[in-house]
Amino acid sequence: MRFAYYPGCTSKGSTQEVDLASRSLAKHLGIDLIELNDAGCCGSCEIKAVNPDLHLMLNARILSMASERQLEILTVCDTCQANLLSTGRKLEQDPVKRATITEKLRSAGVNYTGAPKTRHFTRILMEEFGERKLAEKVVKPLGELRVATFACCHTFRGDGKELRNLGLLERLTEVTGANAIPIRADGDCCGFHILMVNEDLAARAAGKFLARCKDAQVDCVVTSSPLCHAALDIYQKSAEAASGRKIQIPVLHVEQIVAMSMGIRPERLGLERHMVSVDRLIEKAIA
């Protein structure tokens, strides 16, 4: 099983642990990841506000890099996935736009021929292996853990939504033996996209969710988005200040808990990189 691996900027920057954990998990499962080293940024939610065509072109370039290698894309970021999917859909549905974008890309040395299949690692695990096979690989069931799952809004809203991903994070969490606790409300958002411009407002949004996690006495939050991870883990002190609560809840990437349950050693999962310590969680999970 081989995929074009597009980790995204955050997984190469402030949440490198998701890159490490994804590589470890992929190796463990016999998945060959061919990283799109020169892929660059998908534009997140910012570039489309500056220049929507530029946003499409950056994503079409990433798609074309995978197409050239005749590979499907595996991503570990819900927002990257949404941008790649929405670009593929727009260029498929709008022949006039596709002609314009393809021509502009050609002038920049990029040959766009169409969008390859793009899936988040969680969906690849569930579709290519399935719950039964994955459960068979679990050697350290995380049965004691109460886990609040947090999928990114871009998974189920906006032009790049992938409704087939709905519920996968919860089901994958349950595969590890942990208990997925439904805490995320429809109106919850981690606030990541305004962290640089209004940290207080972002922290207020993250704090609302984290305070409910505290009330429900969960052991950790698990997310499929490195952006949500950054907002909930790196900025958790801001969320504490905004909510007026001491929270201290570890936030893990879904790839990390799946890998932990399959016996991959914590040292290979970048757990020491988390801002909120995961030491007690690991003790509880491994005990």
Binding site: K12, G43, C45, S107, D159, C189, I194, N198, A205
Partner: protein
């Protein structure tokens, strides 16, 4: 469901200026095709005292929006369920029972000059293409029900930093109009339009299915980013960062967007990020990647 079967309708009631509210449960005899507004009308017809707004009963006036089992909806367009909790919209002050205060909000978006402003007298008949009006057409579907703003996680009241999607739809309706000649970048820069969290919750809730983010909020963020003070130019800084590095170099983006004051304010967090190996200062893209991304920027800007 059988005609006349009793449905449980719970309504959150609150007297004007009261500190707290209470939920009162009623039984309503079900009728075929009964909507939530029908249940409220039946209850008041029976003499119950419940304050709520409604007018057209046909998804047009936007006045009957309420929270139904936790989700903001138009009560004239929703089927009555067997067990229904009806509450006032979130994010607005409650005037009484299910009536919320809309004036403070409307006063805020009136500052966005919600009208077409022209600097010259247009030719008559004025040449106007349908394609030029497409964006405005979509935004004209807004019935100002307030549901989008009620469900918005970034909105925190009429005096809060983010104006909410409803206000931005009103602003964009005129800013996107090809006949409008007003430079709205200054007012948008100060509007808080750049505080949208991009969660798309507003689009999910909108009963008129308006593409609020792509047709209203993103164009208003773009206008704000072009403002003369440079206080809402994060998308431009982000794009510059990608142009330069091919990917986002978060350390330099943080420095440019937050400045030295931001670094000082977050010094503790930044040191902890460094000790937790969260800052990758050495990461660099290849010359090939940078050249190609820069070529894409140039091609897109032509």
């Amino acid at each position: 469901m059988e005609k006349g079967e009793k449905y449980l309708v719970k309504v959150r009631l609150r007297e004007p200026n009261a500190a707290s509210s209470r939920v009162v449960a009623y039984e309503v005899p079900y009728q075929k095709d009964m909507r939530i507004i029908d249940a409220l009308n039946w209850l008041t017809g029976e003499g119950e005292s419940i304050a709520y707004r409604w007018f057209c009963s046909s998804k047009k006036c936007g006045s009957c929006a309420m929270r139904v089992n936790g989700v903001p909806k138009l009560t004239c367009w929703e089927k009555l369920e067997k067990d229904t909790l009806i509450e006032p919209l979130d994010n607005f002050e409650v005037t009484r029972d299910l009536v919320v205060e809309r004036e403070a909000y409307q006063a805020r978006y009136l500052t966005f000059k919600p009208y077409v402003e022209r600097n010259h007298t247009p030719a008559w008949p004025e040449p106007l293409k349908h394609t030029e009006m497409l964006s405005t057409y979509k935004l004209m579907d807004c019935i100002e029900c307030g549901i989008c703003t009620s469900g918005c996680p970034a909105y925190s009241g009429a005096g809060g930093p983010f104006p909410g999607p409803w206000a931005l739809v009103q602003a964009a309706k005129f800013a996107n109009d090809p006949r409008d000649e007003l430079d709205r970048s200054s007012e948008m820069e100060l509007s808080g339009a750049d505080y949208c969290m991009s969660c798309h919750r507003c689009e999910e809730l909108c009963p008129m299915e308006i593409p609020i983010v792509s047709e209203a909020i993103e164009p208003m963020r773009a206008l704000a980013a072009r403002g003369p003070k440079g206080t809402a130019n994060f998308p431009v800084l982000f794009a510059d960062n990608v142009r330069q590095n091919a990917f986002v170099k978060s350390s330099s983006l943080f420095l440019r967007s937050r400045g030295l004051a931001g670094i000082f304010k977050n010094l503790g967090m930044l040191v902890r990020m460094f000790t937790h190996k969260k800052t990758n200062l050495s990461v660099q893209s290849s010359a090939t990647a940078r050249n190609q991304v820069q070529a894409i920027f140039s091609a897109a800007e032509k």
